[in-house]
Amino acid sequence: MDRRTTIKWVLAASAAWPLLEVRTGTVPVPATPGYGTDPRLTRDYRPGELWPLTFTPGQRRLAAALADLIIPADPRSPAASAVGVVDFIDEWVSAPYPRSRRDRSVVLEGLAWLDAESSRRFGREFAALAATEQTRICDDICAPARAAAAHRAAARFFARFRDLTAGAFYSTGAGRKDLGYIGNVPLTHFDGPPAALLAKLNLS
């Protein structure tokens, strides 16, 4: 399904948005096997290698715009799309496992809704909006607990997309560095936390 068709479909179905929750499987699911119960663990894997990816160029552009709105570049680390987050989300929604299949509908339909909403409010697709315009849409859907009834399904999509974006970003070297993670290196001995820190926390 290309993006234009998707937008049409979503606009047609917009009155029925809440159905998205129960009608998983409205987005076609490819029949591919997973990596099996005995994959080789010592080699590296790249998205697209184990099962075909899904995103169209338009969906990639949109996913990148949204991921970078959630995790933008700052002096400490790059933006989400610069470290492969879009590839990861594409791998995720294309995977043949139950959780991915649920997310596939949520993400693809959510992305379509986002472009449809952008077109409705600002006359352009989401990726082409000014940052302030993107923010106006996302402010409506960034907190499921506060979202208006009409935006609840979109808010659930946003929460899931934010989790996937963060999970992908913080799984990378850039993400580990951003958080100051300094483990996963061999040590000859483990000294525990520094005494000064423990004293400061009254844990000496």
Binding site: G34, Y35, G36, T37, D38, P39, L41, T42, D44, Y45, L50, L69, I70, I71, P72, D74, R76, G84, F88, E91, W92, A95, Y97, P98, R99, S100, C142, A143, P144, A145, R146, A159, R162, D163, A166, G167, A168, Y170, S171, T172, G173, G175, R176, D178, L179, G180, Y181, I182, G183, N184, V185, P186, F190, D191, G192, P193, L197, L201, N202, L203
Partner: protein, 600 residues
């Protein structure tokens, strides 16, 4: 010598060991080191931790950031091969699918079995744990007591390497000098949990895990383990010298290529193979114990998975160490005219008294742990400290409403970020995104603590397994059907866990997303999900009410032994693996002695 096929096996062995995990590994080690000719049969494939362990791999190198999938339930990098709660082509049946009556059966089809991925938590049972019925009138007593098993706990600790300390607490045994390795330093979160728990009267002491916090003493330990056997001492010393100490990184559940923690494949099997007395055949799915005309076991029948042909192996003694339920299944499928209800089942107790551990968890967020400076907190990969059961007096006085205890596995810290990092923070952030979201993730990273309760389940009449009359696995072997039920003791215990954990988090100034679950039926994890299933061929003092005697020897067939968790008469809160090994070592010693006396 080492790895043989069905075609290259000897005509006959002294002992056949079915299974290669904690029980099989220990049984084979003890027997082979003392000169018995042993054939080990493993249903899964060969596995080499030195070359297959994904040491230091990061989540971005794995599919789906290494998260759990039905193919790899504990995540991509988990050591388990061809395993999980579902194994393709090897079904089992649940008599009930609802939460209260559901039992899930974890298996691993690989050399070393579940020892390759286990949590390495290695707690001794205490004196109370062997005599629960005597103490409170519930469950079953073991035909052995702590003094019988203690010397074998010493041996296992000296062999595999266990860190810990002697805290001198009730029913939480100390180890003799030299048995334990030094415990690792606790993390900031460990110390904060311990400090605040103590304010509530809840102890926190160093954990016990099978991780080498320093190299084992290759001079002293082999001499203590094999005082009268110079060959065994030499082999073991050489092997111990080749095991490295922990390098304080990369999770234990992936296995350990430098052999710094215990798995059967890195600790039991290498010296046993080096003795020249152990043959191992992998891809050998044992389905029946064969009987001779004299009523004694003559060997086993197995499916060679590589050729799909049925094969036989013969020995003077057969040891089942296939994991509790798999050993029970094997006995049940070994029916004959003499044993129409399954082999060694004249008591009718085969399959009965299946137990798992009571599990319940709470996590919380602690402001005091926010925004700490960068710290390497990989440490020993968990359980630097833990809480042993502490309310014996209240329980005796009948104040708790449940009869048995639990211990608490807790932790926190700046673990390697991964797919869950930054996820589901809305309850803390109000739904931030953008620059503020990045700041929020930095702030909250490392500020979460989690508590897992692990409690004793009392054996009951509703929890058992039997052969399903219809379903067979891909080899044509009839499969198990599980029945399951908790009692009030377990449900109330799970609710108590919830309240305790939320109280400790509160005492830390922290918060939880949800209040404590007061409904025990909702607080308790499904049967089998903690993967501590034991029982099914319980040992006892009388042939009419148990399957084996105190030596893991079946009452009905004198040369047939069960050395895995199936023989447990209780399932104390302490994780079963160390006790499985202690019992297996003791049974193997007994077999050796009986073989020397030509009684077997």
């Amino acid at each position: 010598m080492p790895f043989v096929t069905a075609d290259s096996q000897r005509d006959s062995y002294d002992v056949i060991v079915v299974g290669s995990g904690a029980a099989g590994g220990q049984s084979a080690y003890t027997l082979a080191m003392e000169g018995a000719k042993v054939l080990m049969l493993e249903a899964g494939r060969h596995y080499d931790p030195a070359t297959e362990t994904p040491m230091f791999k990061t989540p971005d190198q794995a599919p789906l950031a290494g998260t759990s999938t039905p193919d790899k339930p504990f995540g991509f990098y988990d050591a388990t091969i061809d395993g999980g709660w579902e194994v393709p082509g090897e079904p089992y049946v649940r008599a009930s699918e609802d939460d209260a009556g559901r039992f899930e059966w974890w298996r691993a089809r690989m050399l070393g079995g579940r020892t390759n991925h286990w949590g390495r938590i290695a707690l001794r049972y205490g004196p109370y744990d062997f005599k629960p019925h005597t103490r409170d009138g519930l469950g079953l007593d073991w035909p052995v007591g702590y003094p019988d098993i203690a010397p074998y706990y010493d041996k296992v600790e000296l062999l595999i390497g266990v860190y810990g300390s002697n805290a001198g607490l009730e029913n939480t045994p100390d180890s003799p000098a030299g048995c334990l390795l030094p415990p690792p330093r606790p993390l900031v979160s460990d110390l904060l949990i311990a400090q605040r728990a103590r304010r509530l009267g809840i102890p926190a002491i160093p954990g016990h895990r099978a991780v080498l916090t320093r190299a084992l003493d290759a001079h002293v330990n082999p001499a203590r383990l094999h005082p009268h056997n110079a060959t065994a001492r030499r082999i073991l010393a050489a092997d111990m010298r080749s095991r490295a100490a922990c390098l304080w990184a990369t999770p234990c559940g992936r296995g350990c290529s430098i052999r710094a923690n215990y798995q059967s494949t890195t600790v039991h099997l290498p010296p046993a193979l080096a003795s020249g007395n152990l043959d191992i055949t992998t891809d050998a799915m044992v389905y029946e114990v064969t009987l001779g005309r004299d009523g004694r076991a003559s060997g086993v029948s197995f499916v060679d998975r590589s050729t799909r042909r049925q094969r036989q192996a013969r020995a003077r003694v057969v040891i089942l160490a296939a994991s509790a339920c798999e050993s029970v299944r094997l006995l049940m499928n070994s029916r004959s005219v003499a044993f129409p209800q399954g082999l060694a089942n004249s008591s009718g107790r085969l399959g009965r008294y299946l137990m798992d551990t009571v599990g319940s968890s709470v996590s919380g967020q602690v402001p005091l742990l926010e925004s700490l400076p960068p710290l390497n907190e990989d440490a020993a990969d968990g359980m630097q400290l833990y809480t042993p059961w502490w309310l014996y007096r209240e329980q005796r006085a009948g104040k708790l409403g449940f009869a048995r205890g639990y211990h608490v596995e807790f932790g926190g810290g700046k673990r390697m970020p991964g797919h869950g990092t930054g996820a589901e923070l809305e309850w803390l952030t109000g739904g931030s995104y953008g620059a503020r979201f990045k700041e929020d993730v930095r702030r909250y990273y490392g500020s979460f603590v989690n508590f897992d309760g692990r409690g004793e389940m009392i054996p009951n009449e509703q929890s058992y397994c039997e052969i399903d009359p219809q379903v067979k696995d891909k080899w044509g072997i009839p499969v198990l059907r599980f029945h399951w039920g908790w009692s009030q003791h377990e449900r109330r215990q799970a609710a108590h866990m919830q309240k305790t954990f939320v109280d400790i988090i509160g005492a830390m100034g922290g918060r939880t997303r949800e209040p404590a679950q007061t409904d025990g039926a909702k607080a308790i994890a499904p049967g089998g999900s903690i993967i501590h299933e034991v029982g099914g061929a319980v040992m006892g003092a009388a042939a009419r009410s148990s399957v084996t005697n105190a030596w893991c020897q079946t009452w009905d067939v004198p040369n047939l032994f069960v050395t895995d968790g199936a023989v447990f008469a209780s399932n104390a809160d302490k994780n079963p693996t160390l006790t499985i090994m202690a019992l297996a070592w003791r049974a193997a010693d007994h077999i050796l002695e009986r073989m020397r006396r030509r009684e077997l």
